[in-house]
């Protein structure tokens, strides 16, 4: 082989080699790029695909944003509702408290009267007349009169009178109240309500206290600014109410 090469041919070879080099370089770079972009997600996609994807994401974003706004407004609503709920809860609580007070489940304090009845059973008031014991009817009448006069809470010897309370006798003259709490003289009846109304309902001419006084018992009716009446101590449970 000839070492001496035609100069023209050498130049031609080098230029063509450079051209080949450039071509292959660009081609392989492109191959590599395409291969790489085929692997990963977003970079691989063609521009049109990306556009589609973008528009779909845009759509999704819009939807989600709408949903977000919906939720926010709903949350606002719930917030408002919860505020009103709080109000109703407060109202309900107040109502519940009031009902509990009326029912006798809480200790209550208020102005009212205190009636004291001391049984003078057996005491002779004349030759042939002795004093009879204070009966359940007497006590029931007192309670009834007091409630009629607007009493809001009544207790007899610390036993709260509630809607299911009963005053009854066992045997001859043992008075019982509520679920068998024994009560005996002196009977102290506390009543919360308008003191004037309460007092005038039981005392005065024709009043039950007056009558008892006439029958020979010791009685007193005092108006107090603050009377404490304890709650109903026994269980309040229903068995037959459906």
């Amino acid at each position: 082989m000839k070492i001496k090469v035609n100069k023209e041919k050498l130049v031609m070879s080098i230029t063509i080699g450079i051209a080949c080099f450039a071509l292959m370089l660009v081609m392989f770079m492109q191959f590599k790029m395409v291969k790489q972009t085929d692997i990963t997600a977003i970079e691989t996609m063609r521009e049109s695909e990306l556009k589609l994807e973008l528009s779909s994401w845009n759509e999704k974003y819009k939807q989600l944003y709408a949903r977000y706004e919906e939720v926010v407004t709903k949350m606002e609503e719930y917030k408002n509702e919860s505020v009103t709920d709080q109000k109703t809860a407060q109202l309900l609580e107040a109502e519940l408290e009031q009902l509990n007070e009326l029912l006798g489940k809480t200790d209550v304090v208020g102005q009212g009267i205190v009636i004291q009845l001391i049984d003078n059973q057996g005491k002779k008031i004349s030759e042939d007349a002795t004093v009879y014991a204070i009966s359940k009817e007497n006590l029931l009448r007192v309670i009834n009169e007091l409630f009629a006069a607007g009493a809001e809470a009544i207790s007899i010897n610390g036993n709260r009178v509630i809607s299911t309370s009963a005053v009854y006798t066992i045997g001859t003259d043992i008075l019982k109240i509520n679920n068998g709490n024994k009560i005996s003289s002196p009977y102290v009846i506390n009543a919360i309500g308008n003191p004037d109304y309460l007092k005038s309902s039981v005392s005065g001419k024709g009043g039950i206290v007056d009558e008892l006084e006439e029958l020979g018992h010791e009685t007193s009716v005092d108006i107090r600014d603050e009377i404490e009446i304890e709650k109903y101590s026994d269980d309040i449970s229903t068995k037959y109410i459906k």
Binding site: A19, C20, M24, F28
Partner: protein
């Protein structure tokens, strides 16, 4: 000599191309169109060699100018939001096919001539 230059150039180019950093996707269209333009020039060069009117200056200038021009056109197309590179692609690929046809015809003719000669010598 020329073939050695071609092979060496191709190998070096391929090696560097494989090890080159990955170019961003945005520029891939430019590279692709440059590759097509260069290939078109190569086929054009082969055709001209066969036609015996090969000129190195024309070949090299065509090789690089076509590539750069196609890149410029693609860039312009991107700016205009018009896929001009498609037009360049059609032209280049069309020319490539034309040149391929010429090359094919040349070799087939050469082959048939050879066959004819063989038959003639066999007949003699």
């Amino acid at each position: 000599m020329i073939y050695i230059a071609i092979i060496i150039g191709c190998i070096i180019g391929a090696l560097i191309g494989i090890n080159a950093p990955v170019i961003p996707y945005t520029y891939s269209t430019f590279l692709a169109i440059a590759v097509v333009a260069a290939l078109d020039s190569v086929f054009g060069g082969i055709t001209s060699v066969l036609k015996k009117n090969f000129d190195l200056v024309i070949f090299i200038s065509g090789f690089f100018c076509n590539s750069l021009l196609s890149i410029a056109l693609t860039y312009l197309g991107q700016k205009l939001n018009l896929d001009i590179y498609l037009a360049a692609l059609v032209v280049f690929v069309g020319r490539m096919f034309t040149n391929l046809t010429i090359i094919r015809r040349y070799y087939i003719e050469k082959w048939t001539v050879k066959l004819e000669e063989k038959r003639k010598s066999m007949g003699q």
